[in-house]
Structures are given as C-alpha cells and as structure tokens.
C-alpha cells in the first residue's frame, strides 16, 4: 500500500511513529492497572503518563481527563449523562451526538454550515431551565469551524452547559481554545494519529454526570472497565506528537488550496466561504455520483470517502450538506478529501489529475 494515496484522514489517520513506539513499550507491561502489585503499578504509570500528555494537549489537569473507548462513547456519555432539562444540538452533528438522545432540539445552519446563532439564542431563551448545548468544533465532512466562542457566550448567558465535540479539531488546532470555553470536550485518538479504541472526555471540575458504563471504580468512578492501556499509551504519545506538529498542519492548507484552485469552477466546494480545517475539502463533481467517484478513485489508488465513514455504507446523501441547503442530487455528488500528518503535495497532485481524468471521461460519455 506504500504506493497508494490515502486521503481519508478524517475517517482514521495512520498511527504516528511516536504512538507506535509508546505502544510497543506499553506492550512490554503486563498487569491490570487496578491491581496493587508491581505489575499493576507499572500499568498504572503507563496510563497516568498518557493522561498527563492528553491533559497537556488540552491545557487541563490530568484529573479532568476521562478515558473512554472512543469518540462515540465519549459523545454518548456526555449527551446522556450530563443532567440538563433540555438538550440542544445542531443539525450537522455527528451521528453519535444526534442519535445519543432522541428529544434534543436541533438548531439549523446557514449555507456555509455555520450554526445559526440567532436561532440558538431564541431556542435557549424559550426554555424554562438551563440546557446542555452540544456543538462540534469542526465538521467531519466539510471541515467547517463553528464560532465556538460566540456559542459559548450565548450558552453562558443562559446558564447552560456546553459540550464541544472536538474529535476533528484535536491535533489540528489548539485544544485549549475549546477547553477554556466548554464544560465538556470530547476527543478521539485515531483521528489524531493514535490507535482506534480509545478516546477521552475532558470535563470541567464540578460538572456532574452519570456514567453510562458502570462497575469497578476506574476513572474516578466516571467510566468503569479495565483501561485499554496500550491504546491509552498510544493516545498520549499521539497527543504530544500532534501538538509539536502544528507546522505540518499549516502546510495541509496549501495542499487543499492547490486542489481547489486547480479544479476551479468545474467543482463545487462546500463550506468554502467559512473558516475551515486546513486538511478538509468537500468537493462536488456535477453530474457524477459520489459512489462512481469513490470507486474510480479507488481504482486509481486514491482513498477518499462519500461523507463520514460510519455512514459511508449508506446510499443517502450527507445530512450535513442537506442541512446546508444543498439539494438532494447535488449532495449525492460530493466526496470528502481529508489530509493528515503523513500527506504530501504529491497526494494532492495525484488527486487533481485523477479528478480531472474522471471529469473529462464522464463528460465525454455524457456528450
């Protein structure tokens, strides 16, 4: 697969070397971190060192970091577990937020994918009691960044609690910008160069919640179950590595901009007028279904996706694009390109040429 061009980093990003090394070291340690003998204490140290690394990325104290089995569990725990009389989210959230509670009020977005702040304000104004508001910092499909500071201010004025799904933000942009604003921030290891199977909730002091997994008293009674020690070690190392890799992240914008400039008017770029993650672009090819595109790209050795990985098996168009007012047919023609720590300009160039080939081929077939 060395020759292949992987442009689906928002689905999962390869393990960073630092994570690999940390995991290899952790694999040498046997023991249950809750056991009081030496093996258990060694394992405890692996976990607590990693907790410090995650805390450093988030600029919080280690006591504020709760490890989970991943982003979906983290989001479910926050949405189901933080007591509030009402829950308010946006229409473009990840399924693990949208489906976690059935009775949430959903605030719409504008054509650029930005949460409508007036509607958010009015929604909170109309509630009798403080709500839990959940918004994603950066969208997984378009990369569009929400005005979290303004959202936080509106939530604060209404005495609500704020959850920020930072799964696509963490490792790319400074996490402290969110942890200073939110009561709970959720992140996932495998989106920032750590392994699958581990995530975290970064919770502010004094925010009570009911855990969804109960049992032994692990994670200060906030998440039961023997800790995924190897995964946690990799997560910690990936956090540290991503923090020192922000320069490379800035270069991803040049790859994205190159693609968008080269494709020009032939392509539709969704959310382009909003502030976006450097690594993500959501591109429509008029008249060509996303399914056709991803198959053609795969044959060319290029991995992209039609929307988020969890829903990419389904044929429905992206709920994110529909929420932005994109019509059904056009939404079904969009693919997501997402770069990561291992990407190079060559990847962008290969994508451009494959895209243009496919475009001219389908145009001539149609003619």
């Amino acid at each position: 697969m060395t020759d292949a061009c992987y442009l689906d980093h928002n689905a999962t990003t390869p393990l960073r070397d630092a994570a690999k090394q940390a995991m290899a070291r952790a694999m040498e340690v046997t023991g249950n971190a809750s056991s009081v003998h030496g093996f258990g204490r060694d394992q405890r140290k692996v976990i607590e060192d990693a907790r410090q690394q995650v805390a450093d990325l988030a600029s919080v104290s280690p006591a504020n970091v709760i490890f989970t089995s991943g982003g979906s569990e983290a989001n479910n725990t926050v949405l189901k577990g933080i007591a509030a009389s009402a829950r308010v989210t946006s229409t473009i959230e990840h399924a693990s937020v949208l489906d976690a509670v059935s009775n949430a009020v959903r605030v719409g977005v504008d054509r650029n994918g930005l949460v409508d702040l007036d509607v958010l304000h009015q929604t909170l104004e109309g509630l009798d009691a403080p709500a839990l508001v959940s918004v994603m910092a950066a969208n997984n499909e378009t990369g569009v960044i929400q005005p979290v500071a303004e959202i936080a201010e509106i939530v604060r004025r209404h005495d609500g609690r704020l959850h920020v799904d930072a799964i696509q933000w963490a490792g790319k942009l400074p996490l402290f910008e969110l942890t200073v604003l939110a009561d709970a921030v959720t992140i996932s290891a495998h989106k920032l160069g750590g392994p699958q199977g581990v995530g975290a909730i970064i919770v502010r002091d004094g925010v009570p919640f009911e855990p969804i997994v109960k049992g032994g008293g692990q994670e200060r009674r906030r998440r039961a179950g023997t800790e995924n020690a190897i995964g946690i070690a990799g997560f910690g190392a990936a956090c540290e590595a991503s923090a020192s890799d922000q320069a490379h992240d800035a270069s991803l914008a040049t790859f994205r901009d190159k693609i968008e400039a080269e494709l020009g008017d032939q392509a539709k770029i969704y959310g382009a007028e909003a502030s976006r993650l450097n690594n993500t672009t959501c591109i429509g090819m008029p008249g060509v279904s996303a399914e056709t595109q991803v198959m053609a790209f795969d044959l060319a050795g290029i991995a992209v996706s039609a929307g988020s990985a969890c829903s990419s098996g389904k044929v429905e168009p992206s709920h994110v694009l529909l929420a932005m007012g994109v019509d059904h047919d056009e939404a079904a023609e969009a693919v997501r390109v997402s770069f990561g720590w291992s990407s190079t300009m060559l990847d962008a160039e290969r994508f451009i040429s494959a895209w243009q080939n496919l475009r001219s081929r389908t145009a001539s077939e149609a003619a």
């Binding site: 689905a11 046997t30 023991g31 056991s35 009081v36 109960k214 179950g225 023997t226 795969d298």
Partner: protein
C-alpha cells in the same frame, strides 16, 4: 518472564498478550490502518475483512453465528449493555431480574441502575462452595422476569456455575439468560447453543488478548431484544456505535483461535501446576483453607486462606517476588473484605486471611516451587513476629 520481575500469579486480573496475538495485531497498527467502516476504499475493506475474520474466530470459540458477535470495549461494557439494554427494552412490560450475589461489580451496578427504572432485583445466595442452586432460579422466575444473569466462572474463587442446567430452566420459561463469561473463555468450554445462553460477555484481556476490546454475544434465534448503550454511526448492527479498534479486534480473534485449538494437555498442565501449588502450601503451611468448590472450578484458580494471616501484610511481604491479589482487581484497593467470600459464609477475619492466585499459560513449575517456598516462609515469619499491620487503603 524476566527473572528480575516478580512471579505473575494474577491471571484473573489480566493476562499477558500472547506472542502469536501480538504478531497478528501488528500489521493492523501499521499497514492495514483503515477505518473498518470506510466502504469507499481498499484501506477500509482490508480492515473490515480482518475484523470479520476475527468475528468468525470468536463465534467458533463459543459455537455461535458470527452475526451474533457484537464487539465492545470490554466485558464491563458488555455486561452493562446486556443488563441495561434488556432492562430498557422491556421497561414497563417486564419488571424483574435475577442474579447471584457473587456477580462482578459491573453486573451488580447495572442491576442497581435497572432497579431505578422500576425493576425488582432478586439476588440469590450461593452455597458454602460458591455454587448457585439451579432450583433457586426455577423458584425465583416470575411471569415478569426479563433476565437471569449468572456469571459462568467467578473472578475471585474460580467456581463454575451450572450454566447448562440454568440455561435449560430459563429457556423453558422463556426468560433470557445472560452470562458474564469473562473468566470462562479459555478455561472451560463454552457452547451457547448447548447451554441455551442468550447473551454472553467476553473480555479479550482475560484470554491473552489485548485490553480495550470485548464481545457481547446476542442470540439471533430466538431473537434477543435489547436497547443499545451507545448510539451513533450504527456500527455492529446498530447495537454498538463507534469505530471498531481493528487491531484489538484482530488480536481478540487470534486469542480465540488459540483457545479453540488448545488441547486437554494444555489444560491439564495448568491444573497440575495449580494442584502442586495447593498441595505444596497445604503441606508447608499449617492452618490453610481453600475457598469454594474444588470440583466445579477452573483449573488455574486457587483462592486460599491462611489462618491468622492478614492478606494485605502477606502481599506486601512478598510483593517483590510474587504478584497475587486479595480479590478482584477493580476492588483490590478497597479495605472491605471480599463480598464474594462473605457470601460463602466466611467471617471477616477469614476473608481477610485469603488470597487469590491464578496459574496461567506462561506459568512454569519452577515459579510454582518458588511461590510455595516464598509464601510459606513469609507466613511463618509473620506468624512468629505476630505482625499485624493496621489495614489501610493502599492505592
């Protein structure tokens, strides 16, 4: 295991990852790194194929259909999902669940949650041997009983409950049977069909696989209904959302395959070592007592008490040489005596005088001989000096 390290006899807290498991996992961390739920490219397909192969390996270990295998983050999540999931699904329609008092904490905690939903919970006592009387289940089942949850193998005393008998009773009364089999996999054969099990929890890191992954088996015919614990992308047949950790899943699959291929000789080796440990201690140390049935017990477990000894003091004395525990790892930092041993009728003093040891795949006979020598010397010395330390929280 390196000689500078203590001898590891805490295989019921966690097992080391088998070298063959590590080898199977390695490519998934690097070359085959895709999201197994990505359907649009070969990275995703390769990861998915690896996950599906692991699903088959695990299904074969317990005689299930691969479609009945739901991956989770571990047995704690599986147990939570089974009990809360069934409880929520039948909320308002059923109102009763049954379990023995010796269940793992996460089962008891989940039952407490269900109680808040309005269910009545019957916690059944066990005998002095730690075993549940199947007739107590028969008598306890009501028309509104939704679930019976019985752990296959106890995490502290290693006794095996008469699951097949309990399964037959539950099936006859059309009540779901869930079993926490975290301590059973690889220790005793599991056959979900023959035993009439509807829901079964497994933990990878108790069977020489990695931590952070487990399974909930959910029977398809007759179909078991339950609400998911986690919602989202709809993975695992919508029962468990979240990206599957493909490397860990593959590791657990390999661990299951190794177990399926184990022979009676492998089990006999462990049983011989455990018996050697038990007999050695009984010969060298006066005043020992074994907790729980010896006949209905996994081959590796020894839960043994030494009269007049405080287990905390003993563990501290030998900790440089032997890793053992006074009970379950999750609660081993607690100062309270084991509720499992109390349920067997042990006094606080006798419960505090007991330790759990478990022989495993990597244990050698030299390690057993060293353990006998170290423990008997330590006990003799503690008894001579009459040393009793104040019990204090150690972690």
């Amino acid at each position: 295991m390196c000689s500078a390290r203590p001898i590891y006899l805490d295989y019921q807290a966690t097992t080391p990852v088998d070298a063959r498991v590590m080898e199977a996992m390695t490519p998934l961390f690097t070359e085959v790194f895709g999201n197994p739920h990505s359907t649009s490219h070969s990275y995703g397909w390769a990861a998915r194929d690896a996950v599906e192969a692991a699903r088959v390996q695990i299904a074969e270990m317990i005689n299930a259909d691969p479609r009945e295998i739901i991956f989770t983050s571990g047995a704690t999540e599986s147990n939570n999902m089974a009990i809360k999931g069934v409880g929520r699904f039948f909320e308002g329609r059923k109102g009763h669940m049954i379990a023995p008092v010796t269940e793992h904490k996460c089962v008891l905690e989940s039952l407490k949650y269900i109680e808040k939903l309005g269910y009545e919970i019957t916690l059944l006592p066990v005998g002095v041997d730690g075993l549940l009387d199947p007739n107590a289940i028969k008598d306890g089942i009501r028309d509104d009983t939704a679930l019976v949850s019985v752990m296959h193998v106890n995490n502290e005393i290693g006794v095996m409950q008469p699951l097949a008998e309990i399964g037959a009773i539950c099936r006859e009364r059309s009540v779901y049977l869930h079993t926490d089999a975290a301590q059973a996999a690889g220790k005793t054969p599991i056959d979900v069909r023959a035993m009439n099990i509807d829901l079964l929890s497994l933990s990878s890191h108790k069977m020489y696989g990695p931590m952070g992954v487990g399974v909930l088996y959910v029977r398809r015919k007759p179909r078991v209904r339950l609400e998911p614990l986690m919602d989202g992308g709809g993975q695992e047949r919508t029962l468990r959302s979240g990206t599957l950790p493909a490397p860990l899943v593959v590791g657990m699959g390999k661990a299951a395959e190794i177990i399926s291929n184990e022979t009676e000789a492998d089990h006999a080796r462990i049983r011989d070592l455990r018996d050697r440990l038990m007999k050695g201690l009984e010969q060298r140390v006066p005043g020992t007592f074994v907790n729980g049935s010896l006949d209905h017990r996994i081959s590796g477990n020894l839960n043994i008490g030494f009269e007049g000894i405080d287990s905390e003091t003993l563990m501290e004395t030998v900790q440089a040489q032997i890793a053992l525990s006074s009970g379950s790892a999750c609660t081993s930092a607690a100062v309270e005596p084991s509720y499992v041993l109390r349920a067997l009728g042990l006094s606080d003093t006798d419960a505090h005088a007991s330790v759990r040891m478990c022989v495993g795949r990597m244990t050698t006979s030299d390690e057993i001989d060293t353990t006998i020598a170290v423990l008997s010397a330590a006990i003799e010395s503690i008894r001579e000096t009459g040393e009793t330390r104040p019990r204090a929280r150690t972690a």
